[in-house]
């Protein structure tokens, strides 16, 4: 049964944050640990030769190194270590293919960076098939500020990834996460946005009280999140670039939590308990109407939309322990979809709707699992546990982010969708949690 009710809190509060776009500090201490789990023999070997630089001061970004790390992290490629690269061609006509065949490389990337004036640089690159000695790509990227060379490198890696795998690359994307620094009452919580590899972290919001559940708008311009800054939980929607934000849910009684954007960006699914029990609602952002989706005595939370916008997956303990359910976005009887494992929580859905990532708990071990809807709901594990949570798909579903616990601190891992390559992102000295992988960026 669906009840539509007018949101009684008429206060549409727009606050301009003074502390917007504060830089969280230079990204110097971010050595990235690659933790190869095994089974990467199937990965495609590719060599990215250091890019030549024509004139000007030495650049602070090693374009080829950024690309090598992208390829390795994906699990689809195995890039030759910089120290094993013996020749340094910068254009296709200089490549000696015999050398790279001997090193068992399938593909080779060469390129150069030139100054374009006014602090701008221009990158040109070529992709060749080593065995066929055939040019696959030859492109000059648009001029970009020297400070944005990492972004240019990620864009090139995306194009090459797509050329070889047929799947759009998702390296030039951003991630959001929460950090908690300090102890007890002296903890500061920050909502951070960074590049997909953890570089260029920027503080979007800070609070003395807990922040959680950041959720990207489909256009990548806004983040919805939960903040306890007013004492109780409230849901905000904040513009990442301008810093302006709206208070969208703040019922004085109960939980205001678990925001999730509809694929068209017009609605938020949320979990609210002002009705006496935690239930799912859909909030229309323009009209401020709340439509109730669930009605049970259980905990119903963590909604996430199917890509077609027609249904919503969520966590419910109506069967005793938490499991994943699916309900029509217009309401109706929810169907349980997770049956393996003692408990399943916190689902995320791949862009094509075929894979559902979730946290599966068995005994005291909580691991990230993927249920493949196209393979008869077969389940595979991506992480070792014991306290892993918050799975979040890359927009091309080739990788996921999740949060793990090491000692007393939380850390983030990027894992390939086949579970073969796992990499820890060293992002902060504090406790890191609640990762959310953003959508594709618009060039």
């Amino acid at each position: 049964m669906i009840k539509t009710m007018r949101k009684f809190s008429s206060s549409l509060v727009v606050i301009l944050l003074a502390a917007v776009a504060l830089f969280a500090g230079p990204a110097t201490a971010q050595s990235l640990n690659v933790d190869i789990v095994g089974g990467v023999k199937t990965a495609t070997p590719i060599v990215v030769v250091p890019f030549a630089q024509a004139g000007g001061a030495p650049l602070s970004t090693d374009v080829a190194e950024v690309m090598r790390n992208d390829f390795n992290r994906s699990g689809k490629f195995r890039s030759l270590a910089k120290s094993d690269i013996v020749e340094f061609p910068s254009k296709g006509s200089d490549i000696k293919f015999a050398t790279w065949r001997l090193l068992k490389q399938d593909y080779i990337v060469v390129g150069n960076v030139t100054e374009a004036g006014n602090g701008m640089v221009q990158v040109e690159y070529e992709l060749w098939d080593v065995n066929k000695q055939q040019s696959l790509l030859h492109q000059q990227m648009p001029p970009a500020p020297a400070g944005d060379l990492r972004g240019v490198a990620h864009q090139i890696a995306d194009i090459i990834y797509q050329k070889i795998t047929g799947v759009r690359g998702a390296f030039w994307t951003r991630i959001a996460y929460i950090t908690a620094v300090g102890l007890g009452n002296h903890t500061t919580y920050s909502l951070i946005v960074a590049d997909s590899d953890g570089y260029n972290p920027q503080v979007v919001a800070r609070s003395k009280e807990s922040l959680l559940t950041p959720a990207w708008s489909p256009d990548g311009r806004k983040l919805a999140y939960v903040s306890f800054e007013s004492g109780n939980s409230s849901i905000y929607v904040q513009d990442i670039t301008t810093g302006s934000r709206q208070l969208v849910e703040s019922h004085p009684r109960g939980i205001n939590g678990a925001p999730a954007w509809s694929p068209d960006g017009s609605k938020l699914a949320v979990a609210l308990s002002y009705v006496g029990n935690l239930e799912l609602f859909v909030l229309d952002l323009a009209s401020r109407h709340e439509t109730r989706l669930t009605n049970s005595l259980s905990i119903d939370t963590e909604p996430v939309w199917a890509p077609d916008g027609k249904s919503i997956y969520f966590t419910s303990d109506r069967s005793g322990r938490p499991q994943i359910y699916q309900v029509s976005a217009s309401g109706g009887t929810p169907q349980r979809i997770s049956f393996q494992g003692q408990s399943n929580l916190n689902a995320d859905v791949s862009y094509d709707g075929k894979q559902i990532a979730m946290v599966q708990g068995n005994g005291n071990v909580y691991r990230i699992a993927i249920m493949d809807r196209s393979l008869g709901d077969q389940v595979r594990f991506l992480s070792p546990g014991p306290i892993d949570e918050s799975p979040s798909f890359a927009p091309n579903a080739s990788m996921l982010l999740y949060a793990a616990t090491e000692g007393r601190r939380g850390v983030l891992y990027a894992v390939s969708a086949d579970g073969m390559v796992r990499q820890r992102l060293v992002l902060s000295d504090g406790d890191v949690r609640e990762p959310a992988w953003g959508p594709y960026r618009q060039r």
Binding site: S210, L212, T213, G254, A271, L278, T315, N346, V359
Partner: protein, 168 residues
């Protein structure tokens, strides 16, 4: 089933608490009420704000729960009874019940679990005569752990509802 158990427990509590407070009220009545008017709050068996610091039962302000459970365990029924009596004795007093969970499971689910535990304590206090208007529930889920080790001993300390007097 759970509900039946809960109702039964609450009913049992009501009887116990009522009996307790009646005894206290009835027994000392004749003598002290006339001889020591300055000691009236103590002598009529009603709690005063000072008791929050001195009374062995009232000083207990944390209720612990089993994993993924929201039932109030028998050992905490006495605490429910004395805090409910305080609410009855002082109708202007007010309690905030802060629900918490251990680290296992997701943050949003644990918010729900903390709230459910807070509601269970609220119901027990109301079952013992506290008024709904004297009680509010807030859930912090697993956001405010008191212990950060990854073992059952620590988890059991985090699965709790804290009784916070916002008006005495």
């Amino acid at each position: 089933m759970n509900k039946t158990v809960r109702v039964a427990l609450v009913a049992l509590l009501c009887v116990g608490a009522a009996a307790c407070s009646k005894k206290q009220e009835v027994k000392p009545q004749p003598a002290p009420e006339q001889t020591a008017p300055t000691q009236a709050p103590v002598s009529d068996g009603k709690y005063t704000p000072a008791d929050l610091d001195t009374d062995a039962c009232l000083r207990q302000r944390v209720v612990y729960f089993d994993f993924d459970k929201t039932e109030i365990k028998p050992e905490f029924q006495q605490i429910m009874a004395c805090h409910a009596k305080y609410l009855r004795d002082r109708p202007t007093s007010h309690i905030r019940l802060e629900g918490n969970a251990d680290e296992r499971g997701s943050r949003e689910y644990n918010l729900g679990l903390g709230e459910r535990r807070g509601n269970a304590v609220s119901e027990a206090l109301q079952g013992n005569g506290g008024q709904a208007s004297q009680l509010e529930v807030i859930s912090y889920g697993k956001e405010k752990p008191v212990c950060r080790e990854h073992n059952e001993d620590c988890w059991s300390k985090n699965r709790r509802v804290e009784i916070v007097y916002t008006a005495q």
